[in-house]
């Protein structure tokens, strides 16, 4: 079964450092997303990405965050200067996005746990 792969599974970083979270979406999918989940809270949308550009972003996704898909396969989330409150599980998600396709499932990666100290 196809799967979304995220690396690393756990990252510890010092406050103020830059981090890059990596994701390999499912190969024929067209829409990509990042979500985050602070421990004990709900899953929150950060950003969606289609056709090599951001299609939607939330209030959380400020200037400290950026996304790119530089080589057509990897999809990355960069946090330029991490804060303590950025500590969370970050999920990469991909969807095919074809209305004719019966399966509208959003495929989640296993997550990257980011700990900012």
């Amino acid at each position: 079964e196809p799967e979304v792969t995220q690396t690393p599974s756990h990252q510890v970083t010092q406050m103020g450092q830059e981090v890059i979270l990596r994701c390999v979406p499912i190969s024929n999918h067209l829409y990509f997303y990042w979500y985050r989940q602070i421990l004990g809270q709900k899953v929150e949308f950060l950003v969606s990405f289609y056709n090599n550009e951001i299609s939607e972003k939330s209030e959380i996704f400020d200037d400290q965050f950026s996304v790119e898909r530089p080589d057509g396969s990897n999809f990355t989330l960069k946090i330029r200067s991490t804060k303590l409150e950025d500590s969370a599980m970050y999920f990469c998600v991909s969807r095919y996005g074809n209305v004719l396709l019966v399966n509208t499932e959003a495929f989640f990666g296993q997550g990257t746990r980011l700990t900012v100290v």
Binding site: K42, V43, S48, Y96, T104, E105, F108, G111
Partner: protein, 114 residues
Amino acid sequence: AQTVTQSQPEMSVQEAETVTLSCTYDTSESDYYLFWYKQPPSRQMILVIRQEAYKQQNATENRFSVNFQKAAKSFSLKISDSQLGDAAMYFCAYSPGTASKLTFGTGTRLQVTL
């Protein structure tokens, strides 16, 4: 803005019994998708079941079924013959289109007792 509400922070069920988790949502869209995700302690997000709003028939996946009431904007999950492995956080989610973002509820923690 779309919102998803799960009013039960915690639920408990005995093994082999049936439990229903509640979810309501708010939307002005006529066509959309609803999902239930299971999150075990590993924090992996596992799709349990999905429902397309244009389908009147309630979705069923083995021991999991939904009661979709479109007019009431209600989407509850029924777990039959509960098993210890069903213990997890369950999140209800809404999406207005096949490629749109998911909006999640706050989750219900399900405990399964012997």
